[in-house]
């Protein structure tokens, strides 16, 4: 019996080995490079998106730096549609420098993200869509209150829309103040 087993094993091994000449296809080891998100798409023909609008404005260098630090560039280069309330550099200057510097550190990234996401809502809201007393749900989960008085649109009573730039994936409303989310309960 044992002899028979050995024989069978030998034959089986031979069969297995003889088919080894069938070379198997091997997956390539070529490295898959990640080039970044949609912000990396080379496209100088399309209308600029909200990020490109901000990047193209010399009044928004602080905002752009903050968006990069908060890793929001990829999201905001997406299909949207987004309404971005974009504080000018002057608006950021009203924030104490040490607060701003702290927000730009990696430890405070969640706080920075929270603040910046409070400036974005998912939908493209033109100025004519704003009504007095309107509440807007922002990306960070908190709300903004809109007031419209004599054609002047103010957010949370602190920041006023001073200019509006349409973008491919939404709209950018330039504001003269930084919006601060309500303190966490």
């Amino acid at each position: 019996m044992k002899k028979l087993l050995n024989l069978l094993t030998a034959v089986l091994c031979f069969v297995l080995l003889s088919c080894g000449s069938q070379e198997e296809t091997t997956a390539s080891t070529e490295e898959v490079t990640t080039a970044g998100g949609q912000e990396a798409v080379a496209d100088d023909e399309s209308q600029p998106d909200v990020v490109k609008v901000a990047v193209g404005s010399k009044d928004h260098t602080t905002l752009v730096a903050a968006l990069k630090q908060a890793e929001l560039v990829t999201s905001l280069s997406n299909a949207g549609p987004f309404t971005v309330f974009a504080p000018t550099n002057a608006a950021f200057d009203k924030v104490p420098k040490e607060t701003l510097d702290a927000l730009m550190t990696d430890e405070k990234k969640p706080d920075l993200q929270n603040i910046l996401q409070y400036h974005v809502t998912t939908s493209s809201l033109r100025t004519e869509y704003f009504t007095d007393g309107q509440t807007l749900g922002m990306v960070n989960g908190d709300n903004i209150t809109v007031s419209v008085k004599d054609g002047k649109i103010t957010l949370n009573g602190t920041a006023t829309i001073v200019a509006t730039v349409p973008a491919s994936n939404g709209i950018v409303h330039v504001i003269d103040g930084v919006l601060l989310p309500p303190a966490k309960k």
Binding site: L8, L12, E23, T25, T26, S28, T29, Q47, S123, S168
Partner: protein, 664 residues
Amino acid sequence: MKKRSLAILITSFGVLMSMYSCKPKNAGSAVSGDAASRAYVAPGKYDEFYNIVSGGFNGQMAVYGIPSGRLFRIIPVFSQFAESGYGYSEETKPMLNTSHGYVPWDDLHHIALSQTNGEHDGRWAFGNGNNTPRIARISLSTFRTEEIIEIPNSAGNHSSPFITENSEYVVAGTRFSVPTDDANGDVPINTYKQNFKGTISMIAIDPKSGKMSIDFQIKLPGVNFDLARAGKGKSKDWFFFSCYNSEQANTLLEVNASAKDKDFIMAINWKKAQEYARAGKGKKVAVKYAHNVLDEGTHTATSTIMNEVLVLDPKDCPDMVYMMPCPKSPHGCDTDPSGEYIVGSGKLAATIPVFSFTKILNAIANKTYDGSYDGIPVLKYEAVLHGEVAKPGLGPLHTEFDDKGNAYTSFFVSSEIVKWSVKDLKVLDRVPTYYSIGHLSVPGGPTAKPHGKYVIAYNKITKDRYLPTGPELTQSAQLYDISGDKMKLILDFPTTGEPHYAEAIPASLIMKNSKKFYKIEENNHPYVAKGEKETKVVRQGNKVHVYMTAIRSHLTPDNIEGVRMGDEVYFHVTNLEQDWDVPHGFAIKGANNAEILVMPGETQTLMFKPDRVGIFPFYCTDFCSALHQEMSGYLRVSPAGSNVPLTFSTGTNMPKADSATTKR
């Protein structure tokens, strides 16, 4: 107990044997070890070649990447296409108009890419409508069908749309000879020999716009023209056509068209034919054919019925047409990159004859004839033959070429590609295909500048190549690396429809010209709304025109009232986006026609005829944005004679204050 364990042992051995025994040799064992890496295109990387592939019975073209085999696009050409609304939208319906009326589905067999100086220039792809004879031109900037021209005096437009080396002409040859359109067609079918005629049409290509026009036709004996190739280099003024059924059978061609040992390759001096046409040697014949053109400015196609064609008769035009005997119902007819050699592939032949252009010219000069066929001189076979590839395989069909003097011929019956040397006609290598190959393609293979890196097999039979999907299977294609001496199978990929001929072209020639979107300021559609301020709803009798816009993430107008039973509502949807890859769709409940898909900057129209009173929601069908689900609206349909006023709005049609209060 012992006996039982022995039995189990033997049984298990048997099972193991069957599991591990070698598979049949032709079931995929020919894959080389580094195949995966050679066909692998890493995520985010581009393929080296575009492969423009005919879809056969689906009437479309498909665009794949080579070497990955990834499908990028299906281009509707001769068939309605649910994905884009082609042939359904009011703008594209005229593209499928013919002298027979609207033809929603045809059969597209062959691709010809435009050439300059014998090389691909990446501007247009041409395709043939095989059933209701037509030729289409596709822009390789928009990947859209821009033009379709019908071919009169023709049936079965198979030997088409092959192209000359500077895109002067594409050709159309009749597979089915029929009585010409101006003749009485009400004749007994068995009077084929007396009444049926073949024609070759020379369709001129405008060098700037690509616009097609039938320059002239040549009236020929009733045979079946199968395939064709223009000459190149020294033979550039010539065109070569394979013909079968020189027996002129009209029934059971399977037997009756295979009776003779030899049929013909027909050689036409098209330059000379052009001179005859210019010199007034032709006859203007009354015909009826449609010429359909898509205007990129209005995003709208128009169909014009043409009434006349110029026809040349070889009897009035000496030294224009010659026949060369070719064994056994030739199918493929291919010219090598130098233009010196013409390869005929007799489907039923045991050899592949290769003709020499130099010898053809000599035979013509010396009148080395072997009689005539319906008045056309037949050149002596031996006088024009460069040589025969002996015993190459069974059922040779088509030949492509590389840049090293080699030819690659597909063999349907023996299911293989055979590589052979054009110069000395020696067989160098052969590989199996899975299964029963038809056409094959080498990038640049039909041009004067082949790239010779790959050959792609387009097979007719798929059987067990992929996971089964019921009786209807996808078609299989195989990619072989031909950069070395031996052809190596590196990829097997499924294709849509049934691929016949295909061409592959370096990506660099096309991708730089690819259009990203249509500029809204250049949109000249008569019903465009170039901004939401231009949106409106206009009643003209029972026709209601909705000038609608789409932009992330709303339709304007999105509330429409005042439409009545008996109205025809035309939704002219303009996509206001000026951003790459942001189409919007449009659909409305109960539409009997279709849906539409609108590219950025474009206007497309869906006609809707309400069948009942009520509220009809409409919405964007392309997931365009985060608020895509919000991109919707309502149409109110009232009874005929209703006095509900025609109103339209977006964002302002709010509930009345009192009713809102009551609800709460």
